[in-house]
């Protein structure tokens, strides 16, 4: 019994200030249970300049149950699994409330990028590096941002968008008409 109309309202709400927030949510499936969230890496962090994609699944009990969120862009962060993209964040677990939204949850994820909590890690290896060898952590995180969160090759972009359920030809023309920017292309695909 998912509250679909609520999800629809959330998408519209998110759309309203996406230019100022940089945060986007696009449906991946027609029934709105699978979505893709996009957040820009916070300025002044090793994630600056990167664009991070987050897989969102709306559970049956939404908005009483939290949305399931997982990074699909690889990211090096103590509270995010470098393997699976799983996120350790209280508002996505027991501190979730129906008063929160997909957007506020993504804002919290973005804030987590700015303020890692290595003492409550999701990825023990990254957390250990963060605490014992901070400089190495910063350069690794920055390298991962460069490698995975921007400037992906055309084939990577095509693959990603096709995986979201769009047709290959449709994706290629959208990327081309967006000057190679796959996020703009995604918006076009979502809106068109």
């Amino acid at each position: 019994m998912i509250d679909i109309s609520r999800v629809q309202k959330e998408l519209q709400d998110c759309e309203k200030d996406r230019d100022s927030s940089g945060i986007r949510v696009c449906p991946k499936s027609d029934n709105l249970t699978r979505l893709t969230g996009t957040i820009p890496g916070p300025i002044g962090t090793p994630y600056e300049g990167g664009t991070f994609q987050i897989d969102i699944t709306i559970p049956e009990g939404y908005p009483f149950e939290p949305p399931k969120m997982q990074f699909s862009t690889k990211v090096w962060h103590p509270n995010i699994s470098s393997q699976s993209g799983a996120i350790c964040l209280d508002v996505l677990k027991d501190q979730w409330s129906p008063a929160l939204t997909l957007k506020t949850a993504l804002v919290s994820v973005q804030a987590l990028l700015s303020a890692p909590e290595p003492k409550d890690p999701q990825d023990a290896v990254v957390a250990e590096q963060y605490m014992k060898n901070y400089q190495v952590f910063v350069s690794t995180a920055r390298y991962w941002t460069q490698t995975f969160a921007k400037n992906s090759s055309l084939e990577d972009k095509v693959k990603r968008l096709v995986e979201m359920g769009f047709g290959d030809a449709q994706v290629r023309s959208a990327i081309e008409s967006s000057g190679g920017d796959d996020n703009v292309a995604l918006e076009k695909l979502c809106s068109g």
Partner: protein
Amino acid sequence: MQNQNEVVKDDKVEECGNSSAECDPSFQQEEEESAKVPYVADKEPLSSLSAEYKAGSPILLQKIKILENQYIAIRRTRGDGNCFFRSFMFSYLEHILESQDRAEVDRIKANVETCRKTLQNLGYTDFTFADFFALFLEQLDDILQGSEEESISYEELVNRSRDQSVSDYIVMFFRFVTAGEIRTRAEFFEPFITGNTTVDQFCKTSVEPMGEESDHIHITALSDALGVAIRVVYLDRSSCDSGGVTVNHHDFVPVGTTNEKEVGASAPFITLLYRPGHYDILYPKPPCKVLDNVEK
């Protein structure tokens, strides 16, 4: 090699935040226990309470005896962290169903509209709370006898209180109202919040999420926001120094209630029994005839 390490560690920390209650096996057990009780159970004679404490402390047994003089029945609610709100919900709606007090419904509706504005002023997005408000108002309308439509039956009220899609929505409605009241009167509530927690954090972590238990702050805020007095009777092991055992109660009287008729004369129509960590509903004995005569 690193990968291998990580997979193992990932598995281990899959449920990160080990402090969270979900990971605590004893909590799970508790949760399973509590799931056997419906959100709102059937009314039981008060003697079921003493049966529960057969081998309990003498102080508790004495206190239950005293309660038996004043109260006739108890209605248990599920111990899922929402018990205060759930008890308040049922008790209030049941009162309206029985009294058909249209003036009270009009009064609370006006308060609900104020609460809605409060949330809007605080910057809550409308769609996050609108459905919860609508569902509560809908219950009020269904419970009052209309000019053409019958009010819902007592059984239907019980059913709805046990139906997650109604019951949880109303609990969440109360949580919104409570958070709105605490945030707008932050200066008043701040001194009561313990630890290094701001009013904002308190609302985010202890009021707005479902399943977070209520204390005096929640009760005061809800009572004030909706303008409904609540009596809480305390059943615990405390006793007075003088040796005599009494059962303490506290009346939460909404701020701004100055009308004598509202405050002084009668006890609040909502009475809850508090045992450390849990709230249930208490039913007072009907006023005694002798007392009636004395008053006349």
